[in-house]
């Protein structure tokens, strides 16, 4: 036997494989690490309280869903939303309380002319924040060594938009947006051993970069002051992916999207809104390990002004959204009921809206995991003269 052969033979005899130190590729999927993550709608607090209906809202529609929504703004304004969320993840052999804070929307709009409005916005698009932890044992020549392993994902993909919206005659408004996708996710795997073993921990970090672009168009039609209808659609390029550590690159097709919505001011103090959205995520089915399906979403709500002409609003709604990336062979969905309030301040120069949602994502029996959540969306807007 050659010297190298003797070395391999002796090493093979003397190397101890641990009992369990790595999970299989088909381990439990979670929303944060399945496909490109969990979609995050670019909503303000008003739309969040109305079941996510934001395509055609009478009154100030600050969400970045329909590029035509800011047509006729007549002023300049800046606003943003923050979305803290807490929940419980549960399933067979799975448990944890999770918390997160996402910034779904930040926007600056300027009325260039009486009819033309320009805006820039940024916000979360796909969220990949989350982590899992487990305890296992390493079997060595000196005995068993317990260890704790943590696998974390920090980051996601954001969307930047440059939008132009214009009013036309007859209650028609049109808008177009150039959209840019940019993001980074840090993947961390850490293994810490029992203190008694006096082993140094093992830690690997990698970063996945994302970039892409797309276009969106939207239209609004307000045939009468008490009714608004809207339609929107978008197209995305291939989303480029790159692992900074291994320099492996890839692409994922972004979907076509389509949305229909409407709102009705049934009385001066009572408004009803409804939205339907569809996205062709099945184009990415072969690009991501989890597979992807087309998605749809349905949401709606009511808005009341209970204190006469005082600009304070109370809202309630519900939504049902299908997510694109599969867990356990099928894509999970999110369903929630929403409650919210809003108010104008300073004679209309500022506005605050908040919404509280109670919902659930996934299904333990189907996907092996489900998440129950409580989500607060708060937005604050400031307008010029």
């Amino acid at each position: 036997m050659s010297r190298f052969g003797k070395l391999l033979a002796a090493m093979a005899l003397s190397v101890a494989a641990p009992a369990v130190t790595s999970a299989q590729d088909d381990g439990q999927g979670f929303l944060f690490n399945t496909g490109l993550g969990r979609p995050v709608p670019a909503l303000d607090g008003r739309a969040a309280g109305l079941g996510g209906a934001a395509i055609a809202l009478i009154g100030a529609n600050l969400s970045a869903v329909n590029p035509a929504s800011l047509a006729g703004l007549q002023t300049m304004g800046v606003w943003g939303s923050i979305m803290p969320e807490g929940g419980t993840v549960s399933g067979e052999g799975v448990h944890g309380d999770v918390q997160s804070v996402i910034f779904p929307l930040g926007r600056l709009a300027i009325s260039a002319t009486r009819r033309l409005t320009v805006s820039v916005s940024f916000g979360a698009f796909l969220d990949q924040n989350g982590g899992v932890q487990f305890v296992d044992t390493l079997e060595l020549s000196t005995g068993k060594v317990p260890f704790r392993e943590t696998r974390q994902s920090d980051g996601g993909i954001s969307k930047f938009s440059l939008e132009v919206a214009s009013l036309f005659g007859g209650g028609l408004s049109l808008g177009v947006a150039a959209q840019f996708y940019r993001g980074e996710t840090r993947l961390i795997a850490e293994r810490a051993f029992d203190e008694e073993a006096n082993f140094l921990p093992a830690r690997t970090v990698a970063a996945i970069d994302y970039s892409g672009f797309g276009f969106a168009v939207g239209a609004g039609f307000q045939p009468i002051p008490e009714m608004m209808l809207g339609i929107t659609g978008s197209w995305g390029s291939k989303l480029a992916l790159r692992n900074d550590s291994s320099e492996v690159e890839g692409e994922v097709d972004l979907p076509l999207t389509f949305g229909l919505g409407g709102s009705w001011q049934l009385t001066p103090d009572f408004l009803v809104a409804l939205d339907f959205e569809w996205a062709g995520w099945s184009v990415a089915n072969d690009d991501v390990a989890s597979g992807a399906e087309d998605t749809w979403g349905l949401g709606g709500g009511i808005e009341l002004r209970p204190f006469g002409t005082t600009p304070v609003f109370v809202r309630a709604g519900a939504h049902l959204d299908r997510f694109p990336f599969k867990i356990g062979g099928t894509a999970p969905s999110e369903r929630a009921i929403d409650f919210g309030m809003g108010a104008f301040m300073g004679g209309g120069r500022a506005r605050i809206d908040w919404a509280l949602e109670f919902g659930k994502r996934g299904d333990a029996a189907t996907h092996g995991v489900e998440e129950s959540f409580t989500r607060l969306t708060v937005s604050l807007a400031v307008f010029g003269n």
């Binding site: 002796a10 944890g96 698009f125 487990f134 991501v288 390990a289 092996g368």
Partner: protein, 432 residues
């Protein structure tokens, strides 16, 4: 506005809008965790299969003259005589505010602290003599046979073990004594006058055990009275420590047998080793190969295994510490003169003879050294040879008379050294 700062702002906003989150960790069962991470594996690499693992022993890095003690012994196994010099004896003394020449010395005594832990007493105690020395000797090189053993001269003792003269004092040392006092008596003035006169040879003094036992002391102290010329009715007491001290013993330590690694002892035995690792480790169970380059070394140990206690009187009589250091070149080029490099971080261990039996394992931490090697292999690949060169020494050297012995690469494979490595390869994250 240039594009680059805008792109940077976009990147910051992109990260901030999604990454400004605080998430808690979800607990899962080990088999349920998503993704796949690199396994942690153990390799026990013995000397029979690591290419070019060689080791040896060098000595002479210390001696009785720089040991921390003087061993004086009379026993069937070993005879040892202590030698020391008081190098500084004052010939002037400061009285009130005046320097005065010394015209005479009186009441001189040698005070010797007793090392009760290492001394070996009978119930009746040990009778120790303080004697004059009648032949000059070299502190650094004196042995039982040779009074001087330098490069330029080798001068044997007239009487092996030391050519001694008159007995100045004789004291019985017992286990209850913290220190003992030897009086120089009538010889005080003559001896100290010679020692104070640097034109005359200072032959020093000797300790000799008369009956049986082991007397261990440290640095003898001379306390003496001086009579100033200006104040002849006054005696000024002064003290001086021994400036040179050693001990000569017979028989010497036996040669290091083949297949044995010897460490410590008054002669400063050191273990030197060198080995060449492969650049990857084959993992059993069909999980592939784990490369050392780029891996994270969770733990690495050089395991040396004890042999039986050395034959009396050469087994270590007390615990001693050791450290491991790097060697600058292969030890077979310059032997004992191989230049040493920095210490291996965390490599200090305690050799406790009371806890060692045949096969007992001592684990020397090599984690930092292996991680350094893994980092170098990751950075330079096959441009470097994955070689480890090391030396192990007692610290401080000469802290014990006896040494300890371990299995060598050339000896019994069941007692040969082992390199144990626990490592985790780099996890390869894929794209979503």
């Amino acid at each position: 506005m240039t594009f680059r700062p805008v792109a940077a702002l976009v990147a910051v906003l992109a990260t901030g809008s999604v990454a400004c989150t605080r998430e808690e960790i979800v607990s899962v069962e080990p088999g349920n965790a998503p993704g796949e991470t690199a396994p942690t594996v153990e390799a026990l690499l013995n000397t029979a299969v690591i290419p070019d693992w060689t080791d040896t022993v060098f000595s002479g890095f210390s001696g009785p003259s720089n040991a921390g003690f003087i061993a004086v012994q009379e026993s069937p196994d070993l005879v040892s005589h202590g030698l020391f010099r008081i190098g500084i004896v004052r010939d002037t003394v400061f009285v009130t505010d005046t320097f005065s020449a010394v015209i005479a010395y009186d009441s001189a005594r040698i005070i010797a602290t007793v090392d009760a832990n290492r001394s070996d007493f009978t119930d009746a105690g040990i009778t120790v003599q303080l004697r004059t020395v009648e032949q000059d000797w070299h502190n650094g090189t004196a042995t039982w046979q040779l009074a001087v053993d330098t490069v330029g001269a080798q001068v044997p003792w007239t009487t092996p073990g030391g050519s001694f003269g008159s007995v100045l004092d004789e004291v019985v040392v017992t286990a209850a004594d913290d220190s003992v006092v030897f009086e120089l008596g009538a010889a005080t003035d003559s001896l100290l006058s010679i020692w104070a006169d640097t034109s005359q040879a200072n032959l020093g003094l000797a300790f000799v055990v008369v009956d049986s036992g082991l007397f261990v002391t440290f640095v003898p102290l001379l306390v003496y009275g001086t009579v100033p010329e200006l104040f002849p009715d006054t005696t000024v007491v002064t003290a001086s420590s021994a400036t040179e001290r050693t001990f000569v013993f017979d028989p010497p330590a036996p040669p290091v047998p083949t297949g044995v690694l010897r460490l410590g002892g008054v002669n400063g035995f050191r273990i030197y080793g060198q080995l060449v690792l492969g650049d990857s480790i084959l993992v059993t169970g069909g999980t592939g190969v784990v490369a050392i380059g780029g891996a994270q070394i969770n733990a690495a140990q050089l395991i040396i295994r004890s042999l039986n206690a050395p034959a009396p009187p050469f087994g270590a009589e007390a615990p001693f510490s050791s450290v491991t250091f790097r060697l600058a070149i292969n030890f077979d080029v310059l032997g004992p003169k191989t230049p040493v490099a920095e210490l291996v971080e965390g490599s200090d261990i305690i050799i406790d003879p009371d806890s060692l039996v045949l096969g007992s394992e001592l684990r020397i931490d090599f984690t930092s050294r292996l991680q350094e090697l893994a980092d170098s292999l990751d950075r330079f690949g096959t441009e470097i040879q994955p070689q480890i060169r090391f030396g192990i020494r007692a610290i401080p050297e000469g802290s014990t008379f006896g040494y300890w012995e371990f299995g060598s690469a050339e000896g019994d494979s069941a007692l040969a050294p082992i390199l144990r490595i626990i490592l985790t390869g780099a996890t390869a994250f894929g794209l979503p």
